[in-house]
């Protein structure tokens, strides 16, 4: 913690609770997601007496966390959560870990029992900093009111600098009541935590030289580009244009390069496109920008991009060489590194040979012609792919944000919705948190009240935080929940079909609620559609109906998500939809493979 050192304009005496509110204001916070309780009442009392910060009351603290994540991801600003001690704090653990895995800046302020009671098993006491230590970037227990301002400002600094992530500040109730001197953020020097932003110029030069020798290059981009900001996106697009390299992206990076762009290959990885995965497998130079070689991306590691020289740009040094060896490691912020890279590329006369690039693109186009996202149309039942394609078509012209829950619907949304801009796609990637999408949609809508916010959900996931419909109603957040309802936990069932002899243990959802009536019970609008010829009208109705809507889109029950890299296989061993007969699906993973998934 830094001590106040600079000029102290704006410093004055106040209570700890006042300091919390003041620090939020001074750090630019305008919206806050939370739930009151005994140990945060002094802060809630302060919130009640001001009008600069809007408090969004949720129905469950997990909802507050995911709402703040959606808010953060769609704005680039940190999301802020306020919860009470004990269960209030423990309920935030899932969103904190989610934000840690997906590098989302969150500041969670939790109440704590008064300092003299800490360790006594007091009512609603838990070891919040102990419990949240591994699921935050950093956390603090503030035991002296005179440290509070410094800690709060540092919390915002840490959450938003370097690789973004969640932080927790635990404030005991007696500290909230105590009086001390508040110092504004400008009084503190955050020199101690300053992750390196510029990449090593020597390495960048080496990378650019390597790129110029490429015969079969690929750019593999990720969520780090979006976290780095709009300039990073602009520079990435410029780099693609200058080099004419093909580009793919992880689930988290969708939108950093437009899906309508010429060089776009689609998403890569387990449910990525054939062309993206084959390009990765066949490349000789891979430029990884703000991605981390997750196991859902690489597939079988010893057969991952066997011929590739790898350039890896990441602001987090621990991501480099963690899974895959980087031949040219560049530690730095994407924006800073790409700026140098673009400049050096322009200045350098060596370029890949046109003949090689032409041959490479010809090869890629043959993979594209494989049309790995094709599916069999059906006149009687709604295919999930069609549902997303129609959503994509009918939301064009709207200012649209998409969130998802986790499962098959998430993959279909990633595959069939075209993202042309960053910060438009909010999904739980690393942790795979069912229950993320609905509260995240509310958070996005709070930040963008006039935009169209659609949560593509599954019938199982949506029930995990369905209570936040009530919050959306209260705060006038007109979110649209489009449930791809197949009455199964579809992705669980898909894996049971692949790995467990089609024994569908507990993946069928019996006693499904009537989602239309459920919407109505919350005072929202419910829509149901099960016929392809009525789908467009239903989607339009969902978009045009004011206020929150639950659209129960009843899709074909047994569709599975393809293409797919089966467990333990390499990028060039994909299972394509037209090959995925029941027999092939049943044999896609061998006996030894089944044991370890």
């Amino acid at each position: 913690m830094t001590k106040a050192s600079k000029t102290e304009t704006g410093s004055r005496e106040m209570t700890g609770a006042e300091m919390v509110v003041q620090a939020l204001i001074d750090n630019g916070v305008t919206d806050l997601f939370g739930y009151p309780g005994g140990a945060v009442l002094p802060i809630y009392d302060e919130l009640h007496q001001q009008d600069q910060i809007r408090h969004i009351l949720v129905r469950h603290e997990q909802g507050a966390g995911h709402a703040a994540e959606g808010y953060a991801r769609s704005t680039g600003k940190p999301g802020v959560v306020l919860v009470t001690s004990g269960p209030g704090a423990t309920n935030t653990v899932t969103p904190l870990q989610d934000a840690l895995m997906d590098s989302i800046p969150l500041v969670c302020i939790s109440g704590q029992v008064p300092t003299p009671l800490i360790g006594s098993d007091a009512f609603q006491e838990c070891d919040t900093v102990g419990i949240t230590r591994p699921c935050t970037k950093h956390n603090w227990l503030v035991s002296d009111v005179n440290d509070l301002a410094a800690v709060l400002h540092e919390a915002f600094h840490v959450a938003t600098h370097g690789r973004p992530g969640p932080v927790v500040v635990d404030v005991p109730k007696d500290v909230q009541f105590a009086t001390g001197i508040y110092h504004p953020p400008s009084a503190f020097d955050q020199a101690h935590y300053q992750p390196k932003l510029s990449g090593d110029l020597e390495k960048i030069t080496e990378a650019v030289a390597l790129m110029a020798t490429a015969k079969r290059p690929v750019i593999y981009s990720g969520g780090g580009v979006i976290n780095s900001g709009d300039d990073a996106t602009r520079l990435l697009r410029e780099l693609v244009k200058l080099t004419n390299f093909p580009i793919t992206s992880t689930l988290m990076g969708l939108g950093c390069y437009p899906a309508s762009g010429d060089n776009w290959l689609g998403m890569l990885g387990m449910h990525g496109t054939y062309e993206a995965n084959m390009t990765m497998h066949g490349c000789d130079v891979m430029v990884c920008i703000g991605a981390r070689f997750d196991d859902r991306i690489t597939g079988r590691l010893d057969a991952f991009a066997p011929d590739a020289k790898i350039i890896h740009i990441d602001v987090d040094a621990s991501s480099i060489n963690k899974v895959v060896h980087a031949d040219v490691p560049i530690i730095g912020d994407v924006e800073h590194v790409l700026e140098d890279m673009v400049r050096l590329w322009r200045a350098q006369s060596a370029k890949p040979s046109e003949k090689d690039m032409k041959a490479w693109w010809a090869q890629i186009n043959t993979w594209r012609d494989r049309k790995s996202l094709s599916y069999k149309p059906n006149d009687d039942v709604i295919m999930p792919q069609l549902a997303i394609e129609r959503l994509n078509a009918l939301t064009k012209g709207h200012d649209t944000y998409i969130t998802t829950e986790v499962g098959q619907h998430q993959m279909w949304a990633a595959q069939y919705f075209d993202f042309d801009e960053p910060n438009r796609w909010m999904t739980s990637g690393g942790l795979g948190t069912m229950g993320y999408g609905l509260p995240a949609a509310m958070g996005v809508q709070i930040a963008h009240p006039d935009s169209l916010v659609v949560c593509v959900a599954g019938d199982a996931s949506v029930q995990m935080n369905i209570q936040e419909m009530s919050s959306a109603m209260q705060h006038g957040a007109p979110i649209k929940i489009m449930i791809l309802n197949n009455e199964y936990m579809g992705m669980v069932r898909q894996w049971q079909q692949l790995l467990h002899g089609n024994r569908l243990s507990n993946s069928y959802t019996e006693a499904m609620p009537d989602f239309v009536k459920l919407a109505e019970a919350y005072g929202a609008t419910g829509i149901r559609c099960s016929k392809p010829d009525q789908l467009d009208a239903a989607i339009k109705e969902m978009i045009e109906t004011p206020g929150p809507v639950i659209f129960d889109c009843c899709i074909v029950a047994l569709a599975n998500c393809f293409p797919m890299i089966p467990s333990g296989k390499a990028h060039n061993e994909m299972l394509l939809p037209d090959e995925a007969t029941d027999e092939v699906v049943g044999k896609a993973i061998d006996e030894k493979g089944k044991a370890l998934v």
Binding site: P134, L141, P195, T298, P306, D307, I320, L596
Partner: protein
């Protein structure tokens, strides 16, 4: 276009097992000594230890104490075992923690200076109880090892020994049959030879 299987020459691996690709570890395991400079604040040791347990890293020895009182800095010396790749990860993971100021792999530095390993010392208190010949022998051995007597009655000694880990080990094992009662060891303190600081 690409080779079917990359590692033709490597020993045959079990068939690909899972989306969680689990490769057999064929790299050699080495032991390194890390020096970590941290803010001496509440919970900092728990953070460091939690990183090791949470990510499955080994701790062979851990020593910590505040070394710069004015700046409230503690120096943690950790000895860990792993593949060179894992040891690099440990360093990177430590470096990104907010209260961590510096991480130096002392073993790598020692190698770069042409030394086998950094200077490493450990202190142990060794209590021996006995009479007659055993007692005389214990005292004689202590002298031979350069251990000092820090407490004694007619029936016991407490020896204090400082030195390389191997020497401490040896001293303890020799004293075992002579009435060894208890041992307390500090773990290893380490720094590199030469004029440069960490």
């Amino acid at each position: 276009m690409a080779k079917e299987i990359q590692n033709q020459n490597k020993p045959v691996m079990a068939p690909p097992a899972s989306a969680y690709f689990i490769a057999e570890n064929t790299e050699i395991i080495v032991q390194h000594t890390l020096s970590v400079l941290v803010d001496n604040e509440s919970g900092v040791l728990a953070r460091v230890i939690g990183l090791f347990s949470g990510r499955g890293y080994n701790i062979e020895s851990l020593t910590v104490s505040e070394t710069e009182h004015e700046r409230h800095l503690s120096r943690i010396t950790i000895i860990s075992k792993g593949t060179p790749k894992v040891l690099e990860q440990i360093k990177r993971q430590l470096e990104r923690m907010v209260p961590v100021h510096r991480v130096v792999d002392l073993t790598l530095v020692a190698h770069s200076k042409g030394h086998e390993k950094p200077l490493e010392r450990e202190l142990a208190l060794v209590k021996v109880a006995g009479e007659g010949n055993d007692r005389v022998e214990a005292l004689r051995l202590a002298e031979a090892f350069g251990a000092t007597v820090t407490d004694a009655t007619t029936t016991h000694f407490i020896f204090e020994i400082t030195g390389r880990q191997q020497k401490v080990e040896q001293f303890i094992s020799i004293l075992t049959p002579l009435g060894l009662v208890e041992v307390c060891r500090t773990g290893i303190a380490a720094m590199n030879r030469g004029v440069d600081g960490m």
